[in-house]
Subunit: 115 residues, 2 copies
C-alpha cells in the first residue's frame, strides 16, 4: 500500500505508465488529493479480504480487466468503463480473476487495508 | 448540465452506454456521490469558458479522446488514461478538439457552469 500522494496539483498523471511499471500483485497507489478525497490507482490480480469502511464511501472504476465485488447478498461484476460506489458500512470483498486496472475514489481518511 | 445524481450506491454505472447515448455537444452528468465529492461524466467537443472554482479542487481523467486544459501560464494535454487535478482558485479553460469522454471528480458543491 502506497499511501503517499504521488502527484501534486497540476502535475500530469499517466495511469498507463504507472500501471505498466507496477510489479506488486496488489498494487495500490494514492495518485492525488481532491478536496477531502483521494484518487487511487489499483493494479490487482487475486483476492482481497472481506472488509468495510465505517465512515467512507468508496467508488471503483475499471480501466482494464474485470473487477468483481462480492457483497453479502449480491455480486457486482465490473468490466472496462463500468463503475460502482460501495457505500460506507457495507461489507465487501473485491477480487480480480485477471490483471485488472482500476481507479478508486474515496475519503482521504480511508486506510486501504480495510477497517 | 445534469446535476441530478444518476446512480445510487451499489448501482452499476456503465460509462460506455451513457457516453454512447449522449447527444448534447457538451454533456455533463453527475454519476454518483462519494462522501463529499461527486463523480461526473463528460462527453465533450469544443471549448468551455475560462473559469475557476474558489473552494474546490477538480480532477479530470480522460477515457477517450483528447482533453486540453489551458491555464494562464501553461497548457496541459491529456490523452487516454491520463489525468490531472486543477486546484481551487486556478483559472482554467478546457477544450476538446474531438469528441472526448472524461471522468471528473470534484466537491459536491461545485456548479459546473463555473464561478
Amino acid at each position: 500500500m502506497n499511501m503517499n500522494v504521488l502527484f501534486s496539483p497540476l502535475e500530469q498523471i499517466d495511469v498507463r505508465a504507472l500501471a505498466d511499471a507496477s510489479a506488486d500483485p496488489w498494487y495500490n497507489q494514492t495518485l492525488c488529493r481532491v478536496n477531502d478525497c483521494v484518487v487511487r490507482l489499483g493494479v490487482v490480480q487475486g483476492e482481497f479480504h472481506w472488509h468495510k469502511h465505517d465512515e467512507e464511501d468508496e467508488f471503483f472504476y475499471v480501466v482494464e480487466g474485470t473487477f468483481i465485488i462480492e457483497l453479502e447478498d449480491q455480486v457486482i461484476e465490473l468490466n472496462p468503463r463500468q463503475g460502482v460506489t460501495v457505500p460506507r458500512g457495507v461489507l465487501h470483498k473485491p477480487r480480480a480473476p485477471e490483471r485488472t486496472i482500476i481507479l478508486m475514489m474515496e475519503g482521504a481518511r480511508v486506510i486501504p487495508t480495510g477497517d
